[in-house]
């Protein structure tokens, strides 16, 4: 009866939670794979720039994946994010190259330099993302319509809108792109080129934005009441309601944040490519879902971690680089290996969780 004496609550180290366990697995696998790539393929993988290139190319994917992680933790899904990214990129590029009349007039009326177009593009990016989040969040959280269907519709809508805005691919003017593609140089991580000159490692601004977002989402999920409510709603929606969590508001916020992040991702994508095209960010939503899953987020909700998602994106893109480096340049090889890896990860996760819970709860 006197259970107090039989245990020492504060001394004993707590067994790690499911979330932490899955995160650890992801990080281990990423380190292992990157290490393997360094040993076997050497070359590019030995240069720090390779890692920075992964980040540069995938900054937008990291941002989308953060949003999806949140949504998936609440037990929902959003497959419109790729479409939103592409839509924002197209709108942004067209604002930059002056194809949108109203913005040109606004700029002239205010007497602003061309640089102001960047601000317009950013504002539009945020507005589109926010609008998507608002509408989809409202329909899903308050009218309780299936998230898959709503966001599927959202995806078609976004892809359709791109073509309506411009059938032809658009390009941003070079002078503005030079501003947007400013790179942060890190000399001490540089590596010598063929002539022996040290080329500093280069990182795009988008990567900084992405990493800041990862940090913010991490704080949100760990330190904020709202973040914990995401987990509660994903763990058991009915229970969360009974515990006094405002379930509707929580689900709404998850989609709102996800939509907004998709808007930001679109801007970052535009900064990276400077091109507006209907086929931009194709299947980005699927890559984001895959990254979240690899990072230890469960599709069933309640379990997930944004740090894992970051490593999920890196793992996924490392796999793709490895495939390309090994000489399998045809695009389908990337899909096949990604598919296989995803399968492997899900298998690994469920085996680990199954073993754990078998032992844990008799």
């Amino acid at each position: 009866m006197n259970s107090r004496e039989n245990r020492t609550p504060d001394r004993r180290r707590e067994p790690i939670t499911d979330t932490q366990l899955l995160l650890t697995i992801t990080i281990c696998i990423f380190v292992f794979m990157y290490g393997l790539a360094m040993l076997v393929w050497g070359g590019g993988f030995l240069k720090p720039q390779m890692l920075f290139d992964l980040l540069n190319d995938n900054a937008f994917l990291i941002i989308i994946s953060c949003g999806l992680t949140i949504v998936m933790i609440t037990g929902s899904i959003d497959i419109s994010v790729g479409g939103v990214t592409a839509l924002v990129a197209m709108v942004g590029v067209m604002i930059l190259n002056g194809s949108f009349g109203p913005f040109v007039k606004l700029q002239e009326a205010l007497g602003l330099p061309d640089g102001a177009r960047i601000v317009f593009a950013l504002v539009m990016a945020l507005l589109i993302g926010l609008a998507y989040g608002l509408v989809q969040g409202y329909l899903i959280a308050f009218l309780e319509i299936q998230p898959f269907i709503i966001t599927l519709a959202g995806m078609f809508f976004a892809r359709g809108m791109i073509t309506i805005i411009s059938v032809d691919p658009q390009k941003a003017p070079q002078d503005l792109m030079d501003v947007l593609q400013t790179r942060i140089e890190i000399p001490w991580l540089g590596s010598p080129n063929k002539k022996g000159v040290i080329i500093p490692a280069r990182m795009e601004i988008g990567v900084v934005i992405a990493l800041v977002i990862v940090l913010l989402v991490f704080i949100l999920l760990r330190k904020m009441q709202l973040g914990r409510h995401f987990y509660a709603v994903g763990g058991n929606r009915q229970s969360a309601l009974m515990l006094g969590v405002n379930v509707r508001r929580t689900r709404f916020m998850a989609h709102l944040i996800c939509g907004t992040l998709a808007g930001i991702a679109g801007f970052v994508f535009m900064m990276h490519t400077g091109a507006g095209n209907a086929t931009n960010a194709t299947a980005a939503e699927m890559n984001a879902i895959a990254s979240s899953i690899i990072g230890g987020t469960l599709l069933t909700g309640g379990v997930g971690n944004v740090a894992g998602t970051l490593f999920g994106v890196l793992t996924l893109s490392t796999i793709k680089s490895i495939v390309t480096t090994s000489g399998l340049r045809d695009p389908w090889w990337q899909s096949i290996t990604t598919g296989a890896m995803l399968c492997f990860f899900i298998l690994l996760q469920s085996v680990v969780l199954m073993r754990r819970h078998k032992g844990g709860s008799r």
Binding site: R12, E14, G227, M242, N246
Partner: protein, 501 residues
Amino acid sequence: MENDVVLTMRGICKSFPNVKALDHVDFTLRKGRIHALMGENGAGKSTLIKVLTGVYSMDEGEIRIDGIEDAIHIRSPQEAQNFGISTVYQEITLCPNLTVAENMFIGRSPGKTVDWKTMEKKAGELLDNLGIPARPKQQLGSCSLAVQQMVAIARAVDTECKVLILDEPTSSLDENEVEMLFRLMRDLRERGVGIIFVTHFLEQVYEVSDDITVLRNGELVGEYEVKDLPQVELVAKMIGKDLEELSVIKGRDKGADEQAEMLYEAEGLSSSESRPFDFHIAKGEVNGFTGLLGSGRSESVRAIFGADPVTGGKTSIEGKAVRINKPLDAMRNGIGYLAEDRKGDGIIADLSVRDNIILALQVIRGIGHPFSRAQAEAFADEYIKALDIKTASKDTPVGSLSGGNQQKVILARWLLTHPKYLILDEPTRGIDVGTKTEIQKLVIKLAEEGMGITFISSEIEEMLRTCSRLIVMRDRNIVGELRGDELTQERVMRTIAGGGN
């Protein structure tokens, strides 16, 4: 006297499509009293609780709470909490993926950020204070169900609550834990909390309660002090008629009869969840597995039915060796199994009564040979009548029936397959007294017709009434077998407890 009143509900009405769930019900709770809310399933207890906690909105009536001048309107569980009304539900309404500490504080902490340190410290103190064997940082899902329930109570107790509602809190607790909970309830009563206690266990009502309010068919029968209302009268008020004598329904001890034909035998049967055990049952015998919660009684019958992966052992039916590795094997060999977890393993809530009834027979027949509509209707009619299932129609989704009637539907499903051997795991849990008796009588009747029946119940008295042989389990092993004169409550308890000769 009236000054002590902490909560009054007057003329509460609530209707659902087709049903008037509450019809002008009054309820009064006083400070420092434990008030039992009694009634059969479907009497309106749950609805009344849900109105009080803001899950349902009432159609009519008023609720007043101590300290607030006007009648209050409770629109959500959150608001109920703010009014000082806390609830612990029968099904654990916590999030298994969060830590114990989080489950105690989520949804009621001020501010926008989470202060993990303070929260875990406060949780630790509270858990220690109440003697709950859980650690704040532990993931809730790794605790046993009983501990999860106590965490829920700890949470409810910690809010500055005037009214604590305990809705079937003891149904998943063993005796020690129930005792611990009662101590806690008495402690809270001393501190002046008004407690509403909803339970099916009559003995427990008489052990802790001060007042009793009885509901029947959504109407108020009356409010009584416990000392003025003997147990028999309480039951009579709940079901609205005198209780039939229960002791006469006991079956004959077929197992002791050497002549009896062996129905099912298992030797060294084991599954992923149960240790190897031997077991047999004769035709027309009613036997039972007993033991504390978690002693392995359910796991044993699940092994017989192949519900968990079978890992070894020999089984035979009517002398012929058979292999039963999955439920379908068992069903083809004439074994039926009414699972403990009615919602999870039993009913398919969205399907109609008719579809639920024909389900098992359809599975045995194979999906390539569907029943005609007329046949299905006939089957459903037959069993709705035979078991007196109270349902609006054959097309009503099972999920909208009361617990007792859902159980009857599953029973009908198995009876329709005309099993030789029927396993009933907790068929009477969460079911009103009247239906319980009906099911017990049915068990005896079926046994007399030659069916072998294994019966499991948490209530030892009920087991003693129906079974002619009891297999006692402790810590996942069979530790004894009682029959004939040995079948007394005391003897069973001693065998379960162990050490007794």
